[in-house]
């Protein structure tokens, strides 16, 4: 049997089939969690954001325009929810806490883990706008056009923001001494 498309599942949800929404959750929770995690760094926060993303999506399903991809719409909610959560966090408690580095502390502290921590630290040093384009482009694999849809910005703006974000990130990583992938694969 062929897998149902997101759009089919959305149609069924709108007709009252809650189980179809469960399938959408199943299908997209991992990617939304990872997007939130890279934006927030903290896995508890990322889980909270993921939950509110799907709740918002469900509550606003009638507003979803089928001419867009469902995942773009979901990504947009996820980016907005992450930004809201970051704003709240900054306002109420600062950005300290149970972050990705602490979450992975029990993992084998090998080079890969250390490097990923440095990358995440570097991401957190970018502005949220820059972080969003880097995450969407490189960690979620979206095209310029898809990022433009998610962030509701012209493609031209996305390109210039991405290029300057990469430049800044490159400088940050250089300062933090992150080994680049060419060296890692060689070792």
């Amino acid at each position: 049997m062929t897998e149902q498309s997101d759009e089919d599942l959305v149609r069924q949800c709108r007709a009252g089939e809650i189980k179809s929404f469960d399938l959408l959750v199943e299908r997209h929770q991992r990617i939304i969690f990872n997007l939130a995690l890279r934006m927030m760094r903290n896995s508890d926060d990322a889980a909270d954001v993921s939950q509110s993303v799907f709740v918002k999506a469900y509550e606003n399903l009638e507003r979803f325009d089928p001419q867009f991809k469902f995942f773009s719409w979901l990504y947009r909610i996820a980016v907005n929810e992450s930004l809201n959560a970051l704003e709240q966090k900054k306002r109420f408690e600062g950005l300290e806490g149970n972050d990705l580095a602490a979450d992975t502390a029990d993992e084998k502290d090998d080079d890969t883990v250390r490097e990923e921590r440095r990358i995440q630290d570097g991401l957190m040093m970018l502005s949220v706008d820059q972080r969003a384009v880097i995450v969407l482009k490189h960690m979620q694999g979206l095209s310029y056009r898809e990022i433009a849809q998610v962030l509701d910005l012209p493609e031209k703006t996305i390109k210039s923001r991405l290029f300057s974000a990469r430049q800044t990130f490159k400088d940050i990583l250089k300062k933090k001494g992150v080994r680049r992938n060419d060296r890692r694969t060689a070792s």
Partner: protein, 249 residues
């Protein structure tokens, strides 16, 4: 080619966005320019590094958490009591509470009668949801004495990227102006500002109507959203008789 153009080509090449001719152009520039070659290598390596960051498994209970939360948001209808049961329940309540309930009910009924029968008013708000990328039109006809009436149009989009259309139609003996103040109305594109029976002037920040005698006006509000939310208010101002408050969320 300027340095900026070269940098853009390098970044776009890393993203696989170049046409064959642009690729050839970049290859030539890289052959001639050592620092461009270095930048190209660095950006390429950065892209590879970022893309190789592993996906993290979400907490095992996340899916269940989400499903439970979504289900909790679905309103479950509560069994409704019949009129007889409600009346019986009221009789069984203590007398102070009973008389209090009857008195409050009377007050509310009186207020509603005054508002809608004895003293009818045009409705104050017009609300609706607009789906992303769709078009929604609200319109409402209301009486207005246009003699010297003035109002302020205030549109408050909560996000950028909106397209809005305002249209005010009054009697033909009326001159209307619908205007908006760009310092408050942060709209990317107001597609149409139009009225019947008079000129329309944009950029003055007020709604003005001049004419003779009471007229019936129709204020049609059309909003085409590219984004999820916008609030638009058209409110009365300066003691004029124009008094319309429309909010579209």
């Amino acid at each position: 080619m300027t340095g900026e153009q070269l940098r853009e080509l390098i970044h776009r090449d890393v993203d696989g966005d170049l046409s064959p001719s642009e690729r050839r152009e970049l290859a030539g520039a890289l052959r001639r320019n050592a620092s461009a070659r270095k930048l190209h290598a660095e950006i390429k390596a950065l892209g590879t590094t970022l893309s190789s960051v592993r996906q993290v498994e979400p907490p095992a209970n996340l899916g269940n958490r989400i499903r439970a939360e979504v289900r909790s948001r679905i309103s479950t209808p509560t069994p409704r009591r019949t009129w007889v049961e409600s009346f019986r329940a009221l009789l069984e309540t203590p007398s102070v509470l009973r008389y209090g309930t009857v008195f409050t009910g009377g007050l509310v009924t009186g207020a509603l009668l005054f508002m809608f029968v004895i003293h009818p008013q045009p409705s104050a708000n017009l609300s609706g949801d607009v789906a992303t990328g769709t078009l929604l039109t609200h319109s409402e006809t209301f009486p207005v004495d246009v003699n010297g009436a003035k109002g302020t149009l205030t549109a408050i989009p909560t996000e950028t990227g909106k397209e809005l259309t305002f249209r005010l139609t009054c009697g033909t003996s009326t001159t209307t102006k619908i205007t908006y103040d760009p310092s408050r109305v942060k709209l990317e594109n107001v597609r149409e500002v139009q009225s019947a029976g008079g000129p329309v002037v944009v950029n003055e920040g007020v709604v003005e109507m001049t004419g003779t005698g009471p007229q019936r006006c129709t204020l049609a509000f059309t909003a085409a959203y590219r984004d999820s939310r916008v609030t638009v208010q058209i409110a009365s101002a300066e003691g004029g008789k124009f008094n319309k408050d429309i909010q579209v969320r």
